[in-house]
Symmetry: C2
């Protein structure tokens, strides 16, 4: 009797990392998968697939992400359920998850995946400022993820999610600049970060081609996921 | 081929208001609907129903909310998509929306609904501290909504969502106390609110049985909904 059986449920994942090139500022980047079937065959899309009856949405997101990209983040946060009537040629509600990963974690996970003989196919990482034409409403989903990321930056330690455990203030500022899409005054930034009081000065310094820069670290573990009192099967990847 | 057709999509709504009795502190309350069918016949449940192919999830949430309770909030924010495998006897993903309403708005909307001859049936308002046995995982959904509400209070003007346009500091403190579930020191609360600088002192006073208390108002419109750059059909009720 209910016509909700005509609606299918899919999952997709937005994995953001801060990609550091040889020179120039770091850039936000994410993996996309080239579709091999209609609709939108040959177009790039977020990693994802159908929700099956035996798995929770977050498990489906983790499974499809691992199958397509080899990535296995320890948690995925639910971003939003997208369900506009016209977002797909057939009626599909997509529950979208996201995670921020450090570039070295990304590389380690992909290397481990390759070592197991399951090299990801049809996957490429794109800078968010230079995306190809995308399938479905995936442009809109990415735009929403970036908007949420910019909103988080204001009151949380979200930028550290992209950085190694110890980082210089310049590296932290560059992460903020990449997320916000604008330059920040270095002296003001240093003052604000130091007065916020959630960074710990270490006794170590980054040395290299420039003069040594002090390394900082967070004073607590980063807790990015918006889990609250949810059951583990709602949030945790297997 | 895809087995996602075995999964159905429903919507539910958590409508929170601050119910002010004749005396005593105000309490958080929400409307529940008594189920008339299996599963969980006779149990109380959040207002909701099936998503139909012709409507977006937020439209379905607004429609089922109006049908069952007579309430018609101007916007609904997406709370979370609940999809644990065992949350219902059949496999159902529920996209849950929420809104904070002022008690006078609630009463005006119910009065208008009654005047149109469609008195809501099987609906009752319950204090969140005194809920009956609920259908499905609706206890968990409400617990999550209250957790999100408590988290919002820390850094936003969410408590004002429950208050009239002008309010005393004691009324604002009572709203915070109801949400947080603990007493706040009146002098500290006043200092914090005044130093935060997002309230405007009016020249008006609340008079009555106590000594006159100055009325305050927000300096900007309350923007509770987490909309971001989403399309209107993802967020706005018709």
């Amino acid at each position: 009797m209910t016509r909700s059986a005509d609606i299918r449920v899919a999952v997709s994942t937005v994995i953001l990392t801060l990609r550091r090139g040889d020179d120039g500022p770091p850039v936000l980047a994410l993996p996309l998968v080239r579709r091999t079937r209609e609709p939108f065959a040959e177009r790039w899309a977020l990693p994802g697939g159908w929700l099956t009856p035996e798995e929770s949405p977050v498990d489906a997101a983790a499974r499809t992400l691992a199958e397509t990209t080899g990535l296995a983040p320890t948690y995925l946060e639910q971003l939003y359920a997208f369900g506009a009537v016209d977002r797909s040629p057939t009626r599909v509600v997509s529950i979208v998850y996201w995670a921020l990963l450090r570039q070295d974690d990304v590389e380690a996970q992909i290397t481990a995946h390759r070592a197991s003989g399951r090299a990801p196919e049809n996957v490429e990482w794109f800078d968010v400022d230079d995306l190809p034409a995308l399938a479905f409403d995936h442009h809109e989903i990415i735009e929403y993820a970036l908007w949420r990321l910019r909103n988080k930056v204001g009151y949380s330690r979200v930028a550290q999610g992209f950085l190694p455990a110890e980082f210089t203030l310049a590296e932290l500022r560059e992460a903020y600049e990449s997320i916000l899409g604008r330059a920040l005054d270095p002296a003001n930034f240093r003052r604000q970060v130091e007065s916020a009081g959630n960074l710990i000065r270490t006794d170590r310094f980054r040395t290299g081609s420039h003069r040594p820069a002090r390394l900082y670290r967070d004073d607590t573990d980063l807790e990015l996921a918006d889990r609250g009192p949810l059951r583990p099967e709602e949030t945790r990847t297997r």
